[in-house]
Subunit: 247 residues, 2 copies
Amino acid sequence: MVLLKDVSTKSPKEFDKEQAKEETGKIKKKLDDLQNLLFAEGRHAVLVVIQGMDGSGKDGAIKNVFGGLNPQGIQVKSFKAPTTEELNHDFLWRIHQHAPAKGMIQVFNRSHYEDVLVTRVHGWCDDETAQKRFKAINHFEKLLQEHNQTTLLKFYLHVSPEEQQERLKERTENPEKMWKYNAKDFDEAKLWDKYMQMYEDVFAHCNDPEWTIVPADQNWYKEYLIAKTLLTALEELKMSYPLLRKE
Amino acid sequence: MVLLKDVSTKSPKEFDKEQAKEETGKIKKKLDDLQNLLFAEGRHAVLVVIQGMDGSGKDGAIKNVFGGLNPQGIQVKSFKAPTTEELNHDFLWRIHQHAPAKGMIQVFNRSHYEDVLVTRVHGWCDDETAQKRFKAINHFEKLLQEHNQTTLLKFYLHVSPEEQQERLKERTENPEKMWKYNAKDFDEAKLWDKYMQMYEDVFAHCNDPEWTIVPADQNWYKEYLIAKTLLTALEELKMSYPLLRKE
């Protein structure tokens, strides 16, 4: 059982910022080639789930890790509070619509996991329902993997509460970040321990494939680790360009 | 009335390849900032329609002009032959679903214009229906512009038939491009004059906003001109970061 307070939010000692940034640059070039291959081959789909507290750097990770890729082969979906129409369906209905097609990389900025996170923290979802949702999530994720050749990568961006406070504060001070400010974020931040507990419960029940817990106090390390994990996963697909189809 | 055979498919004389590439690089940095502002401000939408014959470089334009942007703020939709469900609706039904939200850049790789291009060339759409479709397209484009603050940019990638043949041939020879090969493309290419005539008819009837006819035999010039046109359009929006919303 993962206890998040025992997991460092900082990069391991052996990592140097400049070196990591250089390495990330190299990885991104390889990702560019592999994405082209993924699209050309059209046999695999990739789904990247990004979760984390407000201010954990989800938007930045998406911009800086996935920003160099061909936009024709990648889609990003940010899941917000569900609409009335969405609430009139099962909680995976709106998610399923954005599952990646073969050849595509789909990034989820937040995801179906919010239905066992924010909802539990606020008591909108009781423990019994949560247990049922864990099972449904596992079945759903297996469906995507087994029935559409989907590689699923799940990242939890792990910041310290101190770093989070710094970043939320910056949104009240930096004119280019004020648009991100939401007074409610400070209220949510007060529920930190409860959120951690619910994340730990997610890791205990929905861990196939395993979550990557990304130390995220330093953006350069966060970006390096996500890029590296994606690279490894794409390389494992052993893809190749299709031969000429004579028709 | 535009006669496409009188429009050059090559860059104007004063353009130098290296200079254009350098300039495109600079423009892309500015586009990156402006996209961030577009997203942050959330008051305008941008729709980029890209049309052109097979091999005119639509995919490359999307990769190389829009590739550096934040994938969270851009979506690309490639319109293929309509499905049975799509055919059971009006021709703009499937298009409308992909109209950009405020804050977003949406790129159409082919578009509703195929319904007055490939369909007319093959006789699936008669002249009378085409005239009605032109009107419907104009009303639809006005709706997006007037009712959702959408900046609409329409690009026709203009290659010579000789350059097209070269590129289609390359798909049979270059292993990294074979996946793009479709024997039918050579048959379509034989209908060149008819396609040009139908494009000319589009420019005559649906030209508000005006189409940008992009000389596209040289990719570096094509990319420069699209990037530059997009930059000018975004600068004209006079956007600014929103102030802090105290709630």
